[in-house]
Symmetry: D3
Subunit: 319 residues, 6 copies
């Protein structure tokens, strides 16, 4: 097996709209592929929106992200990093969820990730809705809590929905803190906005020491200042990066289940990631791309572009 096998085909060899679409045109490895042993970063789809309480469709996210990601090229425009050469990356396929059962799906997701994590593969996940982060965290933070940085317009820190449902896309990080998967002292949420029912989530955050930076504060202080604080909070230890596409304004990312107006531009959406240079990212996800609500694929293309930014962060530094 040679390293060049993991270099995506150039558009000069195969036009970008051609070929079976894997993530960023990387090789697609099945669960029993011997080349798994060489993989450092695995791109994985979780086509599931069982936690969605509003507009569904994020289950179609991985396929749309794969399709759009075939327009990604080899090199980061600012840093010059060539991630596919820096580290061995591969498309590890999709978790098979159970669309008829939330609990079974949670277990299937963790079960898919656990052996990969055990092999030392760092996962970059394409959701799915935001509940997807919880079972991934159960696999990657099994031994010790991780730092946590979240770009989102919602905190997803609620206790339950509909009279007791503990597992929805509004509750994953409450669960993750309760289960000891995230260290709340090393947790920061950026971009929060939109109307609220109450302050249950904010009260929880305050009690746990979770730092919430609302969008108004982001715009007032500027991204470099806010991100310096975020890096401080995350510190030197490994962290999980979770990026909900609804962090970005709906004009740039209409294809999502619960959009909130008043968000950042696509450039700012890239900027927050570029300011994380040097942070140790054990695992990451990009969630809530809901293709049925997209306009002309612009959300999928933004999501794929942000996945590349995240991949470069992961490829530039060890976990």
């Amino acid at each position: 097996m040679s390293a060049t096998d993991f270099i995506p085909a150039s558009a000069n060899a195969l036009p970008r709209y051609a070929g079976v679409p894997s993530f960023m045109r990387l090789p697609h490895l099945g669960a029993d592929d011997p080349r798994l042993a060489e993989v450092a970063i695995g791109l994985i789809g979780v086509p599931w929106d069982g936690g969605t309480t509003n507009r569904p469709g994020a289950r179609h996210g991985p396929r749309a992200l794969r399709d759009a990601s075939t327009m990604i090229r080899a090199q980061h425009p600012v840093t010059g990093l060539r991630p596919f050469e820096a580290m061995t990356c591969a498309d590890l396929g999709d978790v098979p969820p159970n669309p008829a059962s939330v609990l079974d799906s949670l277990e299937r997701i963790t079960a898919f990730y656990a052996p990969l994590v055990a092999m030392g593969i760092r996962p970059l996940t394409a959701g799915g809705d935001h509940l997807v982060s919880l079972p991934v965290l159960r696999a990657v933070a099994r031994d010790a809590p991780l730092g946590f940085i979240q770009f989102d317009s919602h905190t997803d820190l609620f206790d339950s929905y509909f009279g007791g449902e503990k597992f929805t896309h509004g509750t994953p990080f409450r669960r993750a803190v309760e289960e000891g998967l995230i260290d709340p002292k090393r947790m920061v949420q950026i971009g929060i906005r939109g109307t609220a029912y109450d302050t249950e989530d904010l009260d929880f955050a305050r009690a746990e020491g979770i730092r919430i930076i609302r969008i108004e504060e982001v715009f007032a202080r500027g991204i470099p200042d806010v991100m310096a604080e975020a890096r401080e909070i995350l510190g030197e230890a490994p962290a999980y990066l979770s990026y909900d596409i609804d962090f970005v304004d709906p004009a740039f990312a209409p294809g999502t289940g619960t959009p909130e107006v008043g968000g950042p531009t696509s450039f700012q959406a890239q900027q927050v990631l570029r300011e994380l240079d040097g942070v140790r990212i054990a695992a990451a996800d990009l969630v809530e791309v809901a293709p049925p609500f997209d306009n002309g694929g612009i959300t999928a293309w933004l999501g794929a572009s942000l996945m590349f930014e995240i991949l470069c962060l992961m490829a530039a530094a060890p976990a």
Copy 2:
């Protein structure tokens, strides 16, 4: 309370695109409205797609159907029946489903319908996916099995999905037969087509005596002949009518989760209903309209038009 209170506003008084959109511009009655006692036929939304194993979105069906239905006028074009004058009809609102739990939602739906059925109200349901029919049947067929006529491209007679899930939109009528809600000898399915995994559903149908009329047979024999057989099967006793919008060809009904090409036109979609004149319909539903996959609302408009046809059948004959 006078009868005229249940007559929808004419477009000459309020343009059809104006006003809060209830089903066919009927009065919207809450669960504790005293006028419920006067209602003979209740139009009810079930905004839920928890049984969907493929493309979701039918949870948005009731709202889109209400919106489109405001273009419905007062009188049937062929029979001249004026259903809103023939029987007292009302919009009874939506069942509050639990998007995070299939079993809880099934119970909520039955619990919503049971008291209405007890009051003698015949329900006309707007789904939602096809699993919705099961909890409605549990309410309306509690005392005795009903005859059953289904327009669909799928039988929905499978035993389970994903290694044991008993409640999905592919299984409701297996359950309904098992639970004694439907009399399989008085059951007919029309329009079945599309590729199959196996013949488990057809084997069950054969064993139970359920009559399946595939689309090829419909086109070969013609609709009048096929529907004469269907009336024969249903007989004189009350029946449940279930209409999956994917019965119709995707050109006419693109907004659905599991379309199958090779289906009937919208005229034929009306014709099959018009041939049911005189059949006693205890309850009915129109399901699987998935607005996120619709093109310019044509599926919702077809769905609303078919709901009017069904309403006329119900208003023309006792249950």
Copy 3:
């Protein structure tokens, strides 16, 4: 001036998506163009929907029809007629309507057509909503009533809307009969369907001797038989042909303001016209194409294709 100046450019000289889009790539003549004297058939746009009581947008019809019509070629596929060679045809531009005044617009339209009719030009109009037919009829039938054939899902024979409005797209032909522009004994409406408020229009038709052939009758008897009757009704004298695109089923023509399901296919939409071979058509229109409700331009393309069929009827026979 040579006749070849009126022959549209071939796609081999200029690709069909290229060039300023006039109707069928015909020369565009302004009101003072000396070449008007040579024109036998004038294609004219009336970008106006002031009579629309439901969903607006037909004012954008002429532009969309011009755009789509650039895909029309030179020769009829069945008869082999080459209309642009048979008669001198030209695009005479758009009537400038007054979007803020119904009455002023009606006058502007008649004033635009009157001098053209006086020059012997037979107009083929692209609407606009159906009220457009009335002011055109005032110009073309000034001297004597015309026979009238209408393809439509609505009769447009109502007396008034909104408590007294005499000029809407639901009333033009009542007015035209009252004003002596149409001979009701030589009038036939084909394809009528959809729910109704009452039978006021049908009562008027019966009283005046207007023949209405509902869609159910069309499908039951077949198009050749129905159209034979229509030809009989129209007789030998000149007639006006009015084609509302909502005659066709919404799957084929979604881009219209008041669609009604259960209509004919696009082939049948052509067939009814082809059965009019030999009828003397003094003027014609194709109305109610509403581009904001279209899906991918299929309605505009169907509308342009039907305009070509009508043009061939006009070019094959004298008025």
Copy 4:
């Protein structure tokens, strides 16, 4: 009647996509509802675009805004205000316009608002096109001129269109100043941009003392500075707030009749409102949302979000 009757259902009781869609899920009161006496702020739709000289469709605005507004929750994200608890709010339905008559519609609108204003209800209107503001002003400023703040890319201060039409969506505020409904010394227009035919509107503004702040000035000075001036102009007395969605850039608000590029983002669209804290708003409107030109509903969602911002301004201060 208890106050809790006016609190919208939580998404935990009824998912946001469920139920008959009233504005922000508020109770829908008819014209003769006794609960009107309790209402402080009434949300009213005016589904009418009779003043539109370009692309129509704003008549469909109220329904799309109601639909989107069901995603609004209970509390303002920055101020924490809970408007539905602060003041009694209700959906008072739609004015029945006359789509076939501009003058009759103007009268119908004023007639609908007058008795509500007489009861002390402050209206928050969902248009409709911008001509809608005039008849509302006739009802709310009958006794004395109001201050006036307008967010828009056009001044709408022209004298007439099409050779004398005094009532179009380009003329309402010329009329309102002439009729003494607006005090031009307390009038400010923000965001003006786009190509022009001439300077007739600007000349009028200068002569009357109306302050126009073009978009270039907004971006150059910054929103806080501009809005401080705006507050100064409005002063302490009651004012009318009119928000044309085409104030916002077409990327954020494509669904409008006359978009102009070079506008603010959705965050800035919120910011200008938040800077009005403390201003006394007697009445307000959000106009020109034209759903047929929207992309995936993002304009309607932005419009509904801005209506919530305006509602909070109204609920936080007396008129």
Copy 5:
């Protein structure tokens, strides 16, 4: 290597919207995969529209067809054939075209197919525009001319375009006849319609003995009768089947470059194929699906469904 490796995953193991999308979820084999030796039927994409003279986009066809084809199941609904069990099928990927050169692309396509044909693999191609058929024919008919059956609304028999271009999507079958790849005596074209520039193509067909059955004849005689004649023309020897999606009416297949109204329904589109049972098909293609012009993916879904019909024909009989 076991045969079960070529059986697509069931939706019960992996939902149909999940996973990297290969044709019908078949294994995707690269050019050097040793399993090629086992393959009987190869599904191949040719993402190229270099021959398109009107609306481009067919280059995106293979990806959209792969995506839609993941909704295909295991068994034919009428014959019960299970093609993936009957013959070893695989997705052999996409030909790498040269979007900047027509001639180079033609060579690349033939070069891709030639070794596969040499291995005895029968290709089922997903276009691409109709020019794609020519280089495929050069590979599969190298040794002897094939019979040829074409479903299309255009003959594609023209000599040249734009003053001498011999290779466009309007000329492939003229070339193929000239090059001796097709036996014109065993060639039949079905569904031809639409306006024409001239009769150059028909004259060529007559001279060569090619049978053209226009759509009017198809509808007049009925599909069984027409297809009996077609089978007669093809005879017992191997044939090439070429299916242009614009054969079907634009309501069913809007996503194509040169739609023609007046075509068959999706059921008739299946029927013509089912009537070819027993014909020996050496190779086949489905071309002209142009996703940028599609509405909600209905054309891709129809295209994938028709590819399954064709695959079953190929799997049921030897070449």
Copy 6:
């Protein structure tokens, strides 16, 4: 011929959605029109995307730009310039490209422009893809190299594609420099971003002295500072202005073949042009608007608005 013949109709005479759509409603002059002698600035369409290596559709750009441009009015909002009065402008139609041949099309384009340039007409081109600039440069810079300013997210400075193709939309400016059409010392590219395959283009730029200002630098320094440098680079001599719509962020300009996220807003897209006041522009183009990928026409409207900005630059200063 009077000057007023070149003044576009006002919306008060003819609503903006009416009439045959020429660029900005200017008169459309054919190649042999005697009025050509009066024209100073000619707006020309090049409906061709033969250089496109990714998503096609820019061939449809000129028609969509013409359609949108009918919403442009007479006067610049900031400078007050009335370009149609300042200089005689006209729509000179579309170049007839050869969609089947890159080289022939390149020649046809140059041949179309050469005589117009010889007459002293300055061209403002609507593409088409970016390869279009090369043949236009061959006509306008035949005698001496021009300065060059490019707004774009890509440099288009590559040597070749697909193993040797010299003429694609990624290579035009390498060719133009090689051919001596552009003076690389007076060349500046602004807005470059997106992932890259390698640095071949940047190496060439460095070697030739071409100044590249990446988007990050634009945002860091601010537009006025960057544009001051650009003016410096261009100097006093005539220059060519080339504006690729993918310079703008995809939220504002989704309808393009190769979008890159992280771009400027529509206001910034105008601002860069307004900062060019006084620069001598010999010719200009606006390219890569691809309508099949547009959302609701917002890209075409932005493109038309930017063409007006460029036209004002050209009309305000001599070439």
